[in-house]
Symmetry: C2
Subunit: 138 residues, 2 copies
């Protein structure tokens, strides 16, 4: 994720300890934390960071296109650092585990003109739901 910090600095992002910590928390594969989870983990590294800053920073990262906002449950938004490779999500209906997945084909092409109601359609978001191996075993 140091590439991220480099990219952001290059874009004129003022670097602060708080922003660095938030970026560090959002590193990894299949990471889909809520704002609150990001805040908890950030506090572990930098105890005086405030909730507002975490929200601000997450919002900025989303605007910059470095992080995606996904809503796989209808509770809190989750933040996905894997923004540079298009993907969809597979969610466990029991425990809420989330995996990034890559379906074949382009779902956008599956919506016929007759079903577009004159909209200019630019994006599609797919959420698969099922039961993960852990929950199936239990």
């Amino acid at each position: 994720m140091s590439d991220l910090l480099e990219r952001l600095r290059g874009r004129g992002w003022r670097m602060t300890a708080q922003r660095r910590v938030v970026a560090e928390v959002l590193d990894g594969e299949h990471v889909h934390l809520t704002a609150d989870e990001v805040h908890s983990r950030a506090v572990a590294k930098l105890p005086e960071i405030s909730r507002a800053t975490v929200y601000n920073t997450l919002g900025e990262l989303v605007s910059l296109g470095e992080v995606l906002e996904v809503s796989t449950d209808q509770r809190a938004k989750r933040y996905d650092p894997n923004a540079h490779q298009p993907h969809h999500h597979l969610v466990c209906a029991r425990c809420g585990a989330i995996r990034d997945v890559h379906p074949v084909g382009n779902p956008l092409a599956d919506l016929p003109d007759s079903e577009r109601f004159g909209f200019t359609v630019s994006d599609v978001e797919v959420t698969y739901r099922g039961v993960c191996p852990n929950c199936a075993a239990a």
Copy 2:
């Protein structure tokens, strides 16, 4: 929607003025109201209906499979009475307008085994995003 009332009564649903009003509000095509919108419209017909009852009733309708819960924005849940015909949603990114759409093919089949991570996948939810004709004109 009187069929709905019949079906519910047949399933042992106790009929009350409040439940009737909520069911009436949820009648029509391309209806995707939030709980709060349902409440406002219900109050117009039955001023003393409470917020808790609207939430309760919506929850019951969802459990009974008569209404779907959809989350096209990450604010409030919306309730879709078109539960008996499988469909997906097309959302205007500017004004939030929602249409029911029917893509060709089965998106479930587009997720290869290698991308299922051992999950038992049972359902898929697709949200198309774009700009509606009204907003494009403005």
